[in-house]
């Protein structure tokens, strides 16, 4: 093999096999489990509406119109008791994942939960359900080092070195985040409201907006600018995050974008958290060192 080709191949395999800091995986795992728990808590009051036979979504019809096999644990759950039990079971899986106890098994339980409820009630899914389901798959296949977990407490007390694991899971999460933004921008290229810059005005007049009102019309020009800025930010964020020394600008831009959306909209805080969770895959070992130092310094300061 030519040296050039070999170099290219080595760089490519490095995307997946280069060592990564186990604490970054742990950070993503904890954040994912936490956001999943919040999502479950949001669904809990409406579980009877979405998942039972007396609710709004007819399971037999969903099964009939599902493309491919209908695989859902809700096939076994018809009443509120069994549905509640399954939600509690899934919640326990999320808790175990958060604590890092039997993490692979717990990640499996959480992934099955996401697939199951997406199949059972596809008509009530929201954008962050898709983000969480894709992340659940990536967490499931990622390395699960014993780090920042209940099981690693002893190791932590003994100041054991941070384990190194292959970085393929983080790479795929990073690409997933970039794919979300780039897809969103490309899908809007055909839309005249996005291209004319009127999107933000319509958004702020819609039911999604927290404060819809005639005030929106006074800021037409500013909102045109904001519409284009959103597109620009969605294109720029993946690039900023991927360049190591610019990543904090990427974090800042992303948090600003999603916090802005959450502030101006109803019910999009979980979308904000679901997206920020994927940002964590861009953290670097020095960020984790800084975080651990801060955490270790706190008891000394007392």
């Amino acid at each position: 093999m030519k040296p050039g080709t070999q170099n290219l191949l080595s760089r490519f395999t490095g995307l997946f096999l280069d060592p990564a800091d186990a604490r970054i995986y742990a950070c993503v795992r904890i954040a994912f489990a936490f956001v999943s728990l919040l999502n479950l808590l949001q669904i809990w009051p409406d579980r009877e509406i979405f998942f039972t036979d007396v609710g709004m979504v007819d399971q037999e019809l969903v099964r009939k119109y599902t493309v491919g096999a209908y695989l859902s644990v809700f096939d076994l759950c018809h009443g509120v008791t069994s549905v509640s039990a399954y939600l509690l079971f899934s919640g326990a899986g999320m808790l175990l994942l958060l604590l890092g106890v039997w993490p692979r098994l717990a990640a499996g339980v959480v992934y099955v939960w996401y697939v199951s409820y997406a199949m059972r009630a596809p008509l009530v899914l929201v954008g962050w359900d898709e983000v969480l389901r894709c992340t659940a798959f990536l967490v499931l296949i990622s390395p699960m080092p014993a780090c920042w977990s209940w099981q690693s407490r002893k190791a932590r007390q003994g100041h054991a070195p941070v384990p190194q694991v292959p970085r393929y899971g983080l790479t795929l999460m990073q690409v997933q985040l970039a794919a979300i933004y780039l897809h969103a921008v490309l899908a809007r290229l055909d839309n005249e409201y996005w291209m004319s810059g009127d999107f933000m005005s319509f958004f702020l007049l819609s039911h999604n907006a927290r404060w819809p009102g005639l005030w929106v019309l006074n800021y037409g020009l500013v909102l045109k600018g904001v519409t284009y800025l959103v597109l620009l930010m969605e294109l720029a964020i993946p690039i900023l995050l991927m360049v190591r020394r610019w990543r904090w600008y990427g974090f800042a831009a992303g948090i600003l974008l999603h916090a802005g959306i959450s502030l101006m909209s109803y019910n999009l805080v979980l979308f904000f958290l679901s997206m920020v969770m994927l940002y964590l895959s861009f953290l670097q070992p020095e960020d984790m060192d800084w975080l651990e130092e801060r955490r270790l310094q706190r008891p000394k300061a007392r």
Binding site: G14, L15, G55, D58, Y114, H183, L186, A187, H207, L214
Partner: protein, 190 residues
């Protein structure tokens, strides 16, 4: 640069991660673009297998609905029509802001012309729930009233000083007994 050859485990990781990476990169394309490419069938197959659907058209379409109300109206012959909530079970009232997922149900079921079968199923379930309350007879007529208010054009909002215009639509009326007859419920309780 790696000096040693890859182990079997590493080869598996590289192959699997490469496949998923290719899947994600292809997923960057909007669905309408993908369908023009030959490998889209393979993409869809993998998407179905992993359940990682790559459709990220967030606000691709314009959010043109300002508000949405929905209610069930039940009319017994010779009596005044009564309003009930649309949320099952319990016939609770629908609130667009409190029920973000139910709002999607409304958009996906009520406003999607291809989902008539889900609307029918809902009407049958609603009829069953109404009869179970014991407040209505099978002869009563059931109508689903949906009142969306659509945002005017920006020029229209500026001129009329009114954000949206209501365009109500109704599904029905259908006799409760007929609806339930299509899907026999368990014995109604008074």
């Amino acid at each position: 640069m790696r000096a040693s050859p890859l182990s079997s485990r590493e080869k598996v990781i590289v192959v699997f991660a490469s496949v998923h990476l290719a899947f994600l990169l292809f997923g960057v394309l909007p669905a309408s673009w993908r369908d023009r490419i030959h490998v889209s069938a393979v993409f869809r197959c993998y998407e179905r297998l992993t359940r990682c659907h790559q459709v990220w058209n967030m606000f691709e379409t314009i959010p043109n609905m300002n508000r949405l109300e929905a209610r069930l109206v039940v009319k017994e012959e010779g009596r005044k029509a009564k309003e009930e909530g649309v949320v099952l079970p319990g016939l609770r009232r629908f609130s667009q802001h409190d029920h973000v997922r139910l709002n999607n149900w409304m958009v996906n079921v009520i406003f999607n012309s291809t989902r008539g079968v889900f609307r029918e199923a809902y009407m049958r379930s609603a009829a069953t729930a109404l009869l179970r309350t014991g407040r209505y007879t099978p002869k009563a007529d059931l109508t689903l009233e949906v009142i969306p208010a659509y945002t005017r054009s920006l020029k229209g909002v500026q001129t009329l000083k009114e954000i949206a215009v209501e365009r109500p639509s109704v599904l029905g009326p259908f006799p409760l007994g007929t609806l339930v007859g299509k899907n026999p419920p368990s014995q109604p309780t008074p």
